[in-house]
Homo-oligomer: 459 residues x 4
């Protein structure tokens, strides 16, 4: 049995049937599909298409199908090409001929689009919680290590000293943008296509606004052709997922480098690391490497779906069936990746001594230049003086702060240089007290802001 | 001369200099760069780092540089590796040593990020106008051809009759989502990084909130490391551009098919078509094909930048320099593509006769099934009856509406079938009167909604 | 139990274990993994690391494991994180402590790379057969419809008449290039990494050349670090798969358009088409649409893996674990898609009348221009004359071939135009007799060439 | 004037003309376009379509056009929409009406495809030379530092000691595969489409084989439709470029990490590094970061073109115009990137002391385990012993090699452990003497193999 047998003389080629079948992928939609069908039954009844008794029969049959799925007792039949066929087939077994009335005025096109959006709306809410867990992990570590100064890097070269907490928080804010993007995606996903029929709009007087309210959608689609063809929400989610993956990849990349023996800033806990089948001494940051690698996979899911969407003409084409595997894979990936990265961050050991030992007065050259600026010399000039001082110190093989006084006199004639004041990591950090800067009071304010954001969302 | 000479003994290898230089790409930032520097000068003065006279000297020097660019008289020097170097070099020529004070407390990292965001905010506003032009073109054609019925397609097979205006509007709404996405991207771009310094925050007491107001930003970045490293706004724009490109590709694909001799629904005007160097009879929809092709290129720009971003550690790395070429190319592409597609749509000739001739009573089989539903038969059953009727008509080589009465009697025993009522395209369309449906009153409402959206935005 | 327990105090976090586990993906490697281990055991014996009895014990234990897998009786244990662990665990259960000697001098790094390459080499040979099936289907249809003339299209506009067989063959040759590419990929994949150890080379005197011969590799990897890090073969396969997908997408796109009611050139058999849950009359080319859609997915797999590979430092990083899912998905997709497209092509009905009816003398305008060229007029001029003739015919509403003599006289004064000779589709086709052209004798030669290629490969 | 005016009443919309024009991109094809036209003229003469005098007139006119381009004196006219139009327009100015005979029997479709392939064939040869330069740089450094032992890394954790030369060579072989791939791409590109006309084959009796020989092609295209539609060669090149970019990215990533202060293994020369506008002490590996970043851009070019190709129907569609920008950008990028990376590698300073200081006896744990294997204990057991020894050493805070004898006795009762023999980096490296291993003699052989490959190619 198929849903479209009447016009067809022969059956589907077995390999074609396998190529066509989407059940393995879309069966996880059983919950939203049944809820959608219950709402549709009610809408048909409100429209006078079904009697109350028929509606009741359909709804209670659907409830029973739901219960079978929920209990893991649902049995698929060989002809169930997708979850929608399976649910309707089982409903008819339970409810009898009235089951054949469920699909009145509806098409798989608007049904699938509705199911998929409903699923995504709930999936996005779930991922936002996962995000908050990782944000909390970063925040907790930032609070726990407040005051620790580390070398800040650009180009992976030591640049200027920053608070370790400030560095951790620099990975909090990208996640906050991800949260905002996921929310906006959910907002746009909350448009109900049901009632669009195959493409022309349903032929029955359905109250679509009421249907939208029933199912938790914010609005109805304004055009039935666009209603069944629109997969922007899937592409948007894949983009948000890929960008989130990119952010996880960046924090992973940094921590993998920090976990090298040469840096030695952090050590993964045994619970979030792996060893080697050959080399007994190895403790590898596998979780972070997987996160970094999976960011590539997420990008591929986005590129793949967008390539599929591009070039389709309007309305529904079967190519759109590719949307679900991509979205489900992206969701499943993030669903595990976010807590695993959170666990890795929460349990990693911070080696404060190693971090402090990596501070280097060379990274105070900017402070030197700015110190001279405060004596009235244009920055371009003081930048040059400081640069030559760095070079001189390298040539002499001494620390920048240890250049002898006569060298300073030669480098900056007539200027006053007090190494003690200039070459102090704490003072350097403290001077960057603008909002968003790395001075302790600025970071304290940043921590409070971040904490408040997390709390406000849980209320 | 470079901005970072003091520490360096030798010069840059010529090929390395060419590889490193970004001037050819970033020179279009001259306007935002200078406006950013004027604001920075004022902020330095407010912070007491510059005297009012120094600030005045810098600002009037910058105005002069601006005037040179604006008049097309600015001359780049060989050492100008990027637009920022060029502006500062020229400023110092004009203003003398005080020019060396401009870069106080600022880094190219926060400067570039500020310029780029400012540029994008304005570019996005511009593209939204371009979008509105195309939306208007669709809307005007929809209004001009109101009432015309066409075959609606799914899987490129005739599915159900729809209003041609409804079909046109199905391409209006994706653009409306694009507009919303571009707006949200602009919203997130409006975060000021200036004052972040290289990564640690500026060492001078800059009032960053005032600076944000001066430059038209909505807020300041909360973390200086993230401030210089964040390129989410660029990736977001490229995504929005690629999805917009996909929407243009879909309308292009449909119109290219409609413009084939076999469909013959539309004909491009000579002003938006091209011929062949070999085949004298050809009139090709080149503009639409280019739009469809460039959608692929836009997707590539997105994939490329995201691959670049993935795997970077935190803070600024030079890889980020790849961001601008991608964003500028995407902007320039859309800046021409949107009006060209709008022009193509506005000037194409609609062949109403060909469109009407393509209507086919087979596409009313759903109406037949629903007609029988109204007589109380479950839809699954009426779907089967209608399917068999289609098959029978194919076998007999007649139109579905022309099946003889005895065939109907055999197919649907005991049911009443009145071809005149069922097989009427106008009635079919008229029955789909739910909001979003293709019935004339529903499309009329949709047109009004769309028109109001366009008008409200221009106020 | 894990393979790397000694150095670790605690166990892996359960979610981390799930994130880390690859068994669900890599278990299909059981066959190549066991064959690789048998070969490794023998190599260890040849190197004097194992006694013959030990080698014998390992090999017969591995054979038993193989038999369990082959019979579907293998039972995975909870700690089996990947197929390699599972096999070795089971081997030790069967063979006792000697099982602990199997991994001597080997690392999972070189083991996995070896397994994966071996699997791919065989998968590529399989896909090449699948390709030949589709090529045969095209060729058979081309032979079956030899002589039928169709309008050739560029820009989806009728361009010049061509043989339908010629059009079908235009999709044969891209597949031939795919075959060549898959072969070259297999050639490069046939480089044995085993013996590379974790990265430094095995510490035992293994005869790697003999090992390569045992396992069917063409050569050994020349550098052990590159040996474990190289995934070029995976990226190459994904590229070849994506380009093959693109070719399938192109033939699908053309046939979808040809299957529209407006073209009506082909009709899919019921065995390779699908209907609609709502619209009883629909017969949709779902198989071709899925092929077109999956081409996008294949492109995404390529982009994803390459983004993952980019930016890794040298030697093995865990990110590489992402390689297998992508490669397996691409293989599984093509493994079904190729025969399904072949089946669609083989069983589609060609409507010769509709095809002939679409021939249009306008598409002979080039023949007209070239006819005049043979009278000595420069082509640029005759192109103009023919173009104006087309315009005049459009204005008069007549067929190009039906322009009255006085019009011809006005358009081409002094030139002789004999419509009968010029406006003949058969003569037009026949004139294009260069190798590769569409004249019957040229297409006959092309058919023979294609047939020979297919046959030569089966010998 | 356009090449296709006769049929058109009005001119092209100015914005559409700008959208359509490809001259800015394709003008670099002037050389191959003219050479192609000269060969075409001769072929027309051989076919009796042109007299010898006409052919002579065309060829000498084309030579003059060539000379104007070569001297930088060619002046484009406003109507020159692409390089092909420009050349033919200028030819006609020079040669008079006979210029109008050049395009006889040819279409821009086969002309463009021919030009593009010819250009690519030469570009690929050029890039292979660029590749050899980088391979030489790696090889020279490997020879110069032969004998130096460094820690080999997997997962960026110290794994086992390897020769620094071995590590450098691990980046040689991927480039060798790139060279092979570029060569195979060139091989497939060497298929002549000229003579395919617009799609049906030229209508004149051109000797295509002779034409192929004239232009340096290896064979002619076997099907004229495929001849004008095939862009596999462009996609293949972009893939080869992106994979090459990935290899450059990997070496760049490794060197960027090695150049950090914490590793300190290498220091870029001033000629291949950059400073900071703010921080005077900075020396950044900008060239390597750009290489890493541009690898992302190259991947985007591939994804973009493939998305464009996917979904096109057969034969020529205008979307294909997007091919050239992508291919040219990829070429130009690699053309500079390869020598810049080569220069960076050639001139970087290797800090042998820092490298040696990073050796760590923990990375000899595998040697320990294998040492015990040689005493007959199964590897799985010795791996466990060595792992526990590492843990014990960590707990005691001593070097693995410094564990007291009583600890060894407890860890490996009854086994003999002689630290001196086990914990020697030179011996460890020396034991990995299999072909491809890191032992000095194996690396020496590898160096010889690599050197021979480079030399053999220059002959």
């Amino acid at each position: 049995m198929t849903l479209w047998g009447g016009r067809f003389a022969g059956g589907l080629d077995p390999l074609a049937a396998r190529f066509n079948a989407s059940l393995a992928v879309d069966q996880r939609l059983w919950d939203v599909d049944i809820r959608g069908s219950v709402a549709w039954s009610r809408a048909l009844a409100r429209a006078g298409v079904l009697t109350d008794a028929e509606c009741q029969a359909l709804c209670s049959g659907l409830m029973q199908v739901w219960a079978e799925f929920n209990a893991g007792r649902f049995v698929f039949a060989p002809g169930d090409e997708d979850i929608h066929t399976a649910v309707e087939r089982r409903l008819s077994e339970i409810a009898g001929p009235v089951g054949g009335k469920l699909h009145t005025g509806r098409s798989r096109n608007d049904q699938v689009a509705t199911d998929f959006r409903l699923w995504l709306m709930e999936a996005l809410a779930h991922l936002q919680q996962r995000l908050a867990t990782l944000q909390s992990a970063l925040l907790n570590q930032a609070e726990a290590h407040f005051g620790l100064i580390m070398p800040g890097y650009t180009h992976l070269q030591r640049a200027q000293p920053v608070l370790f907490s400030h560095w951790l928080l620099s990975h909090f804010w990208p996640l906050e943008r991800d949260r905002e993007r996921l929310g906006q995606t959910a907002g746009r996903a909350a448009t109900l296509p049901l009632g669009s029929g195959a493409l022309a709009g349903t032929g029955f007087p359905i109250d679509r606004e009421a249907l939208a309210r029933d199912l938790g959608f914010a609005r109805i689609s304004p055009n039935s052709i666009d209603g069944v063809a629109d997969r922007d929400f899937a592409a948007e989610f894949l983009f948000a997922a890929a960008l989130l993956g990119t952010h996880l990849s960046r924090v992973a990349e940094a921590l993998i480098i920090f976990a090298s023996a040469e840096f030695g800033f952090v050590e993964m806990s045994d619970a979030f690391a792996a060893g080697s089948s050959l080399m007994p001494q190895k403790k590898n940051p596998d979780m972070l490497e997987l996160a970094r690698g999976k960011a590539g996979t997420l990008l591929g899911l986005l590129a793949g779906l967008m390539a599929t969407l591009k070039g389709l003409p309007s309305a529904y084409d079967k190519d759109l069936q590719e949307d679900k595997q991509a979205v489900f894979t992206a969701f499943d990936t993030l669903d595990v990746m976010l807590p695993v990265v959170a666990g890795t961050v929460s349990t990693m050991r911070i080696d404060q001594d190693k971090i402090r030992a990596a501070l280097d007065t060379g990274s105070l050259a900017t402070d030197l230049a700015e110190y001279l600026v405060r004596q009235g010399v244009p920055f371009r000039e003081t930048h040059g003086i400081a640069g030559r001082a760095v070079r001189r110190a390298l040539e002499m093989g001494v620390d920048l702060s240890a250049l002898p006084a006569e060298e300073w006199a030669a480098l900056a004639p007539g200027l006053d240089i007090s190494p003690a004041e200039v070459f102090d990591f704490g003072q350097s950090v403290g001077r960057r007290a603008v909002p968003g800067g790395t001075a302790p009071e600025a970071v304290q304010a940043q921590l409070a802001l971040a904490r408040n954001l997390l709390i406000s969302r849980q209320i």
